[in-house]
Symmetry: C2
Amino acid sequence: MLIVKKFGGTSVQNAERVQNVARRIVEEYDKGNKVVVVLSAQGHTTDELIAKAKELNPKCSKRELDMLLSTGEQQSVALMAMAIHALGYPAISLNANQCPILATSTYGNARIKDIDTNRINAELDKKNIVIITGFQGINKYGDITTLGRGGSDTSAVALAATLKADLCEIFTDVDGVYTGDPRIIKNAKKLKSISYDEMLELASLGAKVLHNRSVELAKKYNVNLVVRSSLTEEEGTVVKEESLVEKMIVTGVAVDKDVARISVVGVPDIPGMAFKIFSNLSKHKVSVDIILQSIGRESSKDISFTVSKDELEPALKAMEDLKGVSYESISYDKNIAKVSIVGAGMDTNSGVASDLFEALYSSAINVNMISTSEIKISVLVEEKEAERAANAIHDKFIR
Amino acid sequence: MLIVKKFGGTSVQNAERVQNVARRIVEEYDKGNKVVVVLSAQGHTTDELIAKAKELNPKCSKRELDMLLSTGEQQSVALMAMAIHALGYPAISLNANQCPILATSTYGNARIKDIDTNRINAELDKKNIVIITGFQGINKYGDITTLGRGGSDTSAVALAATLKADLCEIFTDVDGVYTGDPRIIKNAKKLKSISYDEMLELASLGAKVLHNRSVELAKKYNVNLVVRSSLTEEEGTVVKEESLVEKMIVTGVAVDKDVARISVVGVPDIPGMAFKIFSNLSKHKVSVDIILQSIGRESSKDISFTVSKDELEPALKAMEDLKGVSYESISYDKNIAKVSIVGAGMDTNSGVASDLFEALYSSAINVNMISTSEIKISVLVEEKEAERAANAIHDKFIR
């Protein structure tokens, strides 16, 4: 078997943890498997490097930041190879250039285009355990680009897909995917399996277990993905095509507090007004999440939408250009949160929405906005009530 | 003009120093010059990374150590590019792979084989200040090799030679080359210029101003080299073909305390015995410095030689194999030091040796061993008298 194992920054944050991970890796190797390891930078290395950069240049070049940050992963892989050697096993570290892992030129947020597997396969054939830097690629100029926060998950899945690995294990500081964040949801349960689509919705809704693009990629290439703990031997959660083991209507509850609501009041009820507003926001690089339109007074309408909290100010600024033309007044609210339920069984089960509202009503929680998709329902509530709302909903659906 | 500027680790050890260096670089750029900058790792980065490696594996692989250590220089160049950007000037950082700088495969002690200047010249043509990682190259496998301690000097001179630069400035924490180490020699004076050969002798005799290989390379390609301070605007010392400005008999005095003496007593006076001893030492990777042979008792001779202090034990161990065959007994002394004088005018000036012995005799310092070359005389003295000896010799020749 060829197995790709990815370990995050906390799993390799100091010498002791590096040695623990090294032992897990050689156990797999001892079973006769080929092992490819993908690592993130140690502990807080990336944050410390970013702080150093900002001290010199608050608006530092993204190319140079990628040049700087990529050193963190390179240190991790070299140290891991040394730790594996110390156990008496053969290992070699490779950075994105040595593989090479080819990526786009969008510094700080690149996408993997292709992976040349010749060197990796040659090293595996030499019986080496191959340790590869996550989070990075090289572009057509030979320059280093990084894949954005959490990009090491994507590196691991892309490697598993290209190498046609039998299994891709993502080791993290939690022991699997839960029906909700255990720090928030009292009765959260670990799932034995979850479908790619459900995982995607959960990931984009604020459950930080897996990097979103890694799940997209796993779905596209049908990669056999497992999320498990780097600290325990527990089994973890399988992410796959269909969630067959547990046929649950609702797979999980997610809470996202990084939400702000903007309401645009008195938009003239003539065609093209909504387009004007959202194309203007897009021009200013503001990403809009939930959009809701309601009927207002006298041939006008109100439009509400949500953005992430740090995009609130840019969004309000962008809206100023249209004042008087596209709307009368604007209001906003930073103290809100989004609570969502995700489940593949939802679209064939008409009672879900009413059960959701019943749970919130019983807890006397007011609902601000509602948005639905085939496998998801999101509601906006006051931020201070988010956790109570999430628990009420969780316990209504998951027992 | 095309100018290569090299700054060492202490010159870029924190944000403030990086900003100072950035200002010096843009001053040069503002004069209309093309500027290539070579940097070492910040401050103690390299030592910290070595400590991390040794913690995981005291005998860590040199390939993996190079992979680890090379990140230090990559961080330096990225941070410097950011600092230059912050001043409003164009700059780009390049690592050994991006140039590329091609080197041999001797991990930890590689030599530069060739530098591809296409990318560097293209960036200079785009009006960029080009910041390049010192200390590293890539081998034929695309793997990173480092050039050994102080290798950034060599990187800078090799770049200056290949780019046909008009000037190569080595910025360091001293303001030039002195007639002796100012911390030891009370009356040490800064030299306006020194020849490549004199600099080579001084470098190999323990004056740690310039990396030895960098001087060899500068001599070979006739690179216009200047050693100067990164902290002051003082002029520094020019290293060039002939020391024309100051025709001094003795250019400098060097003290090297990293010396141990081994005396092999009772070597049979038959051909091949010296060869047997030194080929055996070479087989055990022991480097021998000064060798002296003297006549012993009854058809036998004594051979004394010096090694660095940390090679004393391996040398004694290597000698054990030959006991009884090639010699009778062995003695050694760790508490010695080598004091040397260097000067191009020495070989045409017969009084130098006698002046040297006079200086030592007047100070009542006993001489242990003597070794001479065309432009150098070295004497071994007791370690505790090394500084007094060096000062006495210095003041005899340099006024």
